[in-house]
């Protein structure tokens, strides 16, 4: 599947990066039921970390702990530590609003607000007071849409509803919306699962470009996609993080037989 000669290259780039986020024995409970059994993983600055694993193994659950989206679920409880730049994000003194401004999220289903494209993009900046004057907002909109690769398609209809775009365009609008807040980390939960191959390719390219400015954690069911966009890959199985390492290594030479079974399609 992978060209073995390039195997070591990404490992070197990531190893030199500082750690951006770090999970230490993270356990998550839904009521009495434990969904994660103690996950330890570091996410390096400016890398793309892919998370793969069979359905129901806890990938989304883990991703959502990273910006405390689990807070919105009444019965959900998180134990352990998650550090962002060395600070515990579950520290009661930490403001979850600021955290989410630093760690943005793109969801599986495109979910533009029923507002204009323009308003969708400035939604976050407006909340956080990142701009006040119209020209500042205009600049944010243009820059964000350009980064999301959507500018050329929508620049003449910024004031039409975002819900009127195609699925792939909507997803890129959601990415632009997340980017507009200038977060440090972007979390993506199966961002391409509702899209066709062309839109998917588009977004994969985009992820690669975004890596220069952001740290990205992406959940995907598509192993080719994980191989194409990520530098490191984490394999989850039944609430455990089985192994994490450079993508090439995981795909060509997994240490754990469960990983091997999954990537060779024996189950999943």
């Amino acid at each position: 599947m992978m060209d073995t000669t390039t195997m070591t290259m990404p490992t070197e780039t990531t190893a030199t990066q500082p750690v951006k986020m770090s999970a230490k024995t993270v356990k998550v409970f839904y009521g009495e039921k434990r969904a994660l059994h103690g996950v330890n993983v570091d996410i390096y600055q400016n890398e793309v970390l892919a998370m793969i694993g069979p359905s129901g193994c806890g990938k989304s659950t883990f991703l959502r702990t990273l910006n405390r989206m689990n807070d919105t679920i009444d019965i959900c409880r998180v134990e352990g530590q998650i550090l962002l730049d060395g600070e515990d994000i579950y520290d009661p003194r930490l403001d979850v609003v600021q955290l989410r401004a630093r760690v943005g999220m793109v969801f599986q289903k495109p979910n533009p607000f029923p507002k204009s494209i323009y308003e969708n993009v400035i939604y976050g900046p407006k909340l956080h007071g990142l701009a006040t004057r119209k020209d500042e907002f205009d600049a944010i909109v243009e820059q964000s849409l350009k980064r999301a690769g959507l500018w050329n398609e929508v620049k003449d209809r910024l004031h039409e509803p975002g819900t009127g775009l195609s699925g792939g365009q909507q997803q890129r609008l959601c990415i632009a919306r997340a980017v507009a807040v200038s977060p440090e980390v972007i979390l993506m939960d199966e961002p391409c699962s509702a899209l066709d191959p062309i839109a998917t390719a588009h977004i994969e390219e985009l992820i690669d470009e975004l890596r220069e400015s952001f740290t990205i954690a992406i959940v995907t069911h598509n192993m080719q996609q994980a191989a194409r966009v990520s530098q490191r890959t984490a394999f989850f199985h039944l609430g455990d993080l089985v192994e994490v390492g450079p993508t090439e290594e995981i795909f060509t030479n997994p240490r754990d037989e469960r990983t091997q079974g999954y990537i060779t399609g024996r189950y999943g």
């Binding site: 910006n67 989206m69 919105t72 009444d74 609003v97 600021q98 955290l99 989410r100 401004a101 943005g104 999220m105 969801f107 289903k109 979910n111 533009p112 607000f113 029923p114 507002k115 939604y123 976050g124 909340l127 956080h128 819900t163 959601c174 919306r177 997340a178 807040v181």
Partner: protein, 487 residues
């Protein structure tokens, strides 16, 4: 042979038909049920329907026709002499001489009123209640009473025989036709479809009938009082003279005071219900923990189930005196039937209605939109204000319109708590009256059915109907349109 017995027979024959049809189907299949076109129960139902339905139609027609036909036969059997004896005792002199003249000319002697009176006497006698009949006429109409009894008896027996024959005939005919290729299911389903269509038609025709009667009676009213006076007149005082020679009011039918009164109370009600209902819906759907929601929602629904008459006496006995005393304390004189009291209580009544509708539309906003907003670092209240409410707005507007239409049509609370005086005022501390209150107060008591006063009720009803219809249609349209967007 009473009609109950006949209907019993009919049901019995249907049940027997079901059993026989089923059994026969099983028999003709010779143990291989799969060779039948339909499952055996359909053959049973097929026979039962044919045994029951035609006979049932017969019973219904007979019930509708029996009375008039028998009456006619009974009266026809009376001799002019018998009628004359009866009339001499029962009728006032004027009517009597007219009747005698008619009898002499051998024309149709009795007027409709007299006919009814005569029939009542005969019926009482026939029922063995001679004490209600003037003793002087018993001799003359006794033969008619006997005739009536024998006719009734005959009619019942005839019906019994006819029903038995028709039912058994239907049973035997369909039973004999049962064979494996009979498409019993299709037949039964077609009959059931027609029954369903019939029922829905009845509902539709009832509505249409009500609307048409409103319309025609209103038109009669508008021949007496011009539409423009009704719609734009500022004075409402429906007391008309009962006799032409009576002194007194001629009646004024300007409905504007009623409309403003209705709107005033409905507005007060909405001022109470809209914010309270909406806020409680927001709390319940966005903030409340599951437990609280599980507790509060049923309580709100109970509130919706409180009979309006209870709200009514809550209004007069508790709220109105309270408001009056409050006013007195600050030196305001407030009518004890103030629009304010009625409006507030009506608002309380509508709160659960608004909150449950608003709760529905707010819940219909997809969770993904909330997640999207929260994921960008919005707080819960920012998310509600900037994403959830705008997305739910059309639905909320629809809910409010439905609530307004409910407030306008509400009767019991205002009958009890609002006044009768048609004041043209927008002051909530005064007493006003509403369209529904006037309709009720005009119709209570004895009325002449073609006076302008009575007919005005239909015009008011028509206006009420049109306004609430328009409100409901617009509201449902808005709600629907909004629903489509997310499904």
């Amino acid at each position: 042979m009473s009609a109950t017995f006949t209907v019993g027979l009919l049901l019995l024959l249907s049940a027997v038909g079901f059993w026989m049809g089923r059994t026969r189907a099983v028999t003709v299949a010779g143990g291989r049920i799969a060779t039948l076109h339909s499952v055996p129960n359909y053959y049973g139902s097929f026979v039962a329907l044919w045994a029951g339905l035609p006979a049932l139609v017969l019973v219904l027609c007979w019930m509708a026709l029996r009375g008039p036909v028998i009456d006619w036969l009974v009266l026809d059997g009376l001799t002019p002499e018998q009628v004359e004896i009866w009339a001499r005792v029962m009728l006032p002199p004027n009517d009597l001489s007219a009747l005698l003249a008619n009898i002499a000319e051998e024309t149709d002697a009795l007027t409709e009123t007299h006919r009814q009176l005569l029939l009542i006497n005969i019926n009482n006698l026939a029922a063995g209640q001679a004490q209600y009949v003037n003793a002087a006429v018993v001799g003359a109409i006794q033969p008619a009473a006997d005739h009536l009894n024998s006719l009734r008896n005959l009619a019942n027996w005839t019906l019994f025989a006819a029903v038995a024959a028709l039912s058994a005939g239907g049973l035997a005919f369909t039973w004999s036709r049962i064979n494996p290729s009979l498409r019993a299911r299709n037949n039964v389903e077609r009959i059931v479809t027609w029954l369903l269509i019939l029922c829905s038609t009845i509902a539709v025709f009832t509505t249409v009938g009500i609307v048409l009667s409103l319309l025609f009676e209103s038109i009669r009213f508008f021949t007496k009082v011009p539409v423009t006076e009704f719609l734009f007149g500022l004075h409402w005082s429906p007391q008309t003279a009962i006799r032409a020679d009576q002194v007194g009011s001629s009646g004024a039918f300007g409905a504007i005071p009623l409309f403003t009164g209705t709107l005033l109370i409905a507005t007060i009600a909405m001022i109470v219900a809209a914010p309270v209902g909406l806020m409680s819906a927001i709390y319940l759907s966005e903030y409340a923990p599951k437990k609280v929601r599980g507790l509060v929602k049923p309580v709100l629904e109970i509130l919706a189930g409180v009979p309006t008459v209870v709200y009514g006496f809550f209004a007069i006995l508790t709220v109105a005196p309270f408001i009056r005393d409050m006013g007195a304390a600050v030196g305001l004189s407030i009518s004890s039937q103030s629009a304010l009291a009625a409006g507030i209580v009506m608002g309380v009544m509508i709160v659960p209605f608004v909150s449950s509708l608003a709760d529905d539309v707010i819940n219909a906003v997809p969770q993904s939109l909330r997640d999207g907003s929260l994921g960008l670092g919005a707080t819960r209240s920012e998310t509600i204000k900037q994403v959830v409410l705008p997305a739910a707005l059309p639905g909320i507007v629809g809910a409010m319109l439905l609530a307004v239409s409910r407030a306008i049509g509400e009767t019991m609370i205002v009958v009890m708590a609002a006044g009768l005086q048609a004041n043209l005022t927008l002051n909530p501390l005064e007493s006003v009256t509403t369209v529904t209150v006037q309709i009720k107060s005009i119709l209570v008591g004895d009325q002449e059915f073609d006076s302008a006063k009575t007919l005005s009720v239909f015009a008011l009803g028509l206006v009420l109907f049109l306004v609430t219809l328009v409100l409901n249609v617009v509201a449902l349209r808005i709600v629907q349109k909004y629903r489509e967007k997310y499904d």
